[in-house]
């Protein structure tokens, strides 16, 4: 018995010693852990397992994006001209906001985060930039969008990034929510959603997006389970437009380690390529067991 225990200890020790927790707290919603491992500083929710990494930065080059999905979000820029008003639901470490601000210093960015502790950690450990153009609000994303609709505010780039690997706020994955989001999107705007759905929920999620927005684009690379959904565009840009945007974006996105040319090849429109059963039930405020469907 003792032999096995010491063996386990031997295996665990190096991993424990190389990852250093520099901050941990229990917020109203979750456990928040900031740790450092080698050249990376990461924000984690709930456990120490790497599956729940929310946001990471390279210590020696904070501009370079670590996560694939964060890079994939920038496929949105192939769908629209330069964004002027950006809304981000789900702050995380503030990486998206910081990156967009550096690419488009004149753009207004509103960040919405439900958990005040996450915002604080983003400020203290991830260099989240706030200024007269960048705001952060501590509110439920659904309420923010409903209020924005009442105030007739509009955005040309809306990023939905409120899901983490373990839990989906179900009221942010319904037909009614998408309709509200659509109502605050400018006519030439784009919605990008970062999602983790698998199996059954994948179908329900796709059916719901399709019901509200019509055709949309899936952006993913085979390596991981999440996908970026691009929706809300009125006309899919043609190849020439996309290529022109790629060429324009290459130098802009290079400092952030975003290979926009490679990403542009991973965009799959659902037009003529519906990969879910057509009779899949649409998720609504009345029917939204998203987490149960994602088991």
């Amino acid at each position: 018995m003792f032999k096995y225990l010491s063996l386990i200890a031997l295996i665990l020790l190096p991993t424990l010693s190389s990852a250093k927790v520099i901050h941990s707290e229990r917020s109203l919603y979750r456990n928040i852990i900031v740790n450092e491992e080698g050249n990376q500083r990461c924000l984690k929710f709930n456990t120490k397992s790497s599956k729940t990494n929310q946001s990471c930065v390279f210590k020696d080059d904070p501009n370079k994006l670590v996560f694939n999905y964060t890079k994939l979000v920038f496929s949105s820029l192939l769908m629209i001209d330069d964004p002027k008003k950006v809304l981000i639901i789900g702050l995380g470490g503030g990486t998206l906001s910081n990156t967009i601000h550096q690419i488009y210093p004149n753009a207004y960015i509103d960040n919405v985060e439900i958990d005040p502790a996450v915002t604080k950690v983003a400020r203290d450990y991830f260099g989240f930039i706030e200024n007269e153009k960048i705001t952060s609000v501590e509110q439920d994303g659904r309420i923010f969008i409903k209020r924005a609709k009442l105030k007739k505010q509009q955005y040309d780039w809306i990023i939905l990034d409120a899901f983490n690997g373990d839990y989906i706020p179900e009221h942010l994955l319904t037909k009614e929510f998408f309709e509200e989001t659509k109502s605050i999107l400018t006519s030439k705007g784009i919605i990008s959603a970062n999602t983790f759905s698998s199996s059954k929920l994948y179908n329900h999620e796709s059916a719901t997006y399709h019901d509200v927005f019509g055709d949309f684009i899936n952006v993913s690379n085979q390596k991981n389970s999440n996908r970026i959904i691009l929706a809300g565009y009125t006309k899919q840009p043609n190849k020439e437009t996309i290529n022109a945007r790629v060429q324009k974006l290459i130098p802009l996105l290079k400092p952030f380690n975003i290979d926009i040319e490679g990403i542009s090849k991973n965009m799959k429109p659902t037009k003529d390529n519906i990969d879910w059963p057509v009779d899949t039930r649409v998720l609504t405020d009345q029917y939204s067991p998203a987490n149960l469907l994602n088991l």
């Binding site: 109203l28 439920d140 405020d285």
Partner: protein, 214 residues
């Protein structure tokens, strides 16, 4: 009271416990689109349910002191069934109104919970003390009867919570589940009234027969 009526009363108390918690659980779902899913939503919902149950116990107890009968008991259920219906038919308009007028989602959710759940939960709360009144025949056994009743209705609450959250939300719309609760409560109320009438009739018959013999 026959053992058949007693069994019915226990079953009705079970169903009311089931419905109360089923509705409370769905309350979170109903409020989320307008007031979010933060912890204060549950604060509002639980506060309102506890508050209205407490009033319900008081009122139900008081009501049971005058002409307590199975018919009146059944009427409470029918009344509960009707007052649950606005949750299904008017909640969107009501919440829209509250949302536009109250900026702070804590107080918004509190007011919305009040408007939607206060009245029906008061009425559902009246059922427990009224059941005790109908079941107790011997003051020696009143504690035992009350204990058994709490057991049955709280067991109903536990099952109502788990069945609603684990299974029903996967199969049905929120409104359909609430309509189901309303229908069940109404039908059970009706059943109690019918049973009371038939017992009464049978009782009258035997009394008439015995007086005829005399």
């Amino acid at each position: 009271m026959t053992s058949k009526t007693n069994a019915l009363i226990y079953f009705l108390a079970f169903s009311s416990g089931f419905s109360i918690m089923g509705i409370e659980l769905l309350g979170g779902r109903i409020l989320a689109p307008y007031f979010g899913s933060s912890v204060h939503i549950w604060g509002s919902i639980i506060t309102v349910f506890m508050l209205s149950l407490s009033f319900g116990y008081l009122i139900g107890g008081k009501l049971s002191t005058k002409n307590a009968s199975l018919t009146r008991y059944g009427l409470i259920f029918i009344f509960a069934s009707i007052t649950v219906l606005p949750i299904v038919f008017f909640s969107q308009e009501l919440m829209e109104l509250i949302f536009t007028n109250i900026e702070d989602s804590r107080y918004g959710s509190l007011v919305a919970s009040m408007v939607l759940f206060f009245i029906p939960t008061i009425i559902l709360g009246m059922i427990s003390p009224y059941s005790v009144r109908l079941l107790v025949t011997d003051s020696e056994k009143s504690g035992q009867v009350a204990g058994r009743l709490y057991f049955v209705s709280t067991l109903g609450s536990a099952l109502g919570t788990i069945i609603t959250s684990f299974y029903m939300v996967l199969a049905f719309n929120v409104n359909d589940i609430i309509l189901g609760f309303s229908l069940t409560l109404g039908l059970l109320g009706l059943l109690a009234i019918i049973l009371h009438k038939s017992i009464f009739k049978a009782h009258m018959k035997t009394t008439l027969n015995s007086s005829a013999v005399n």
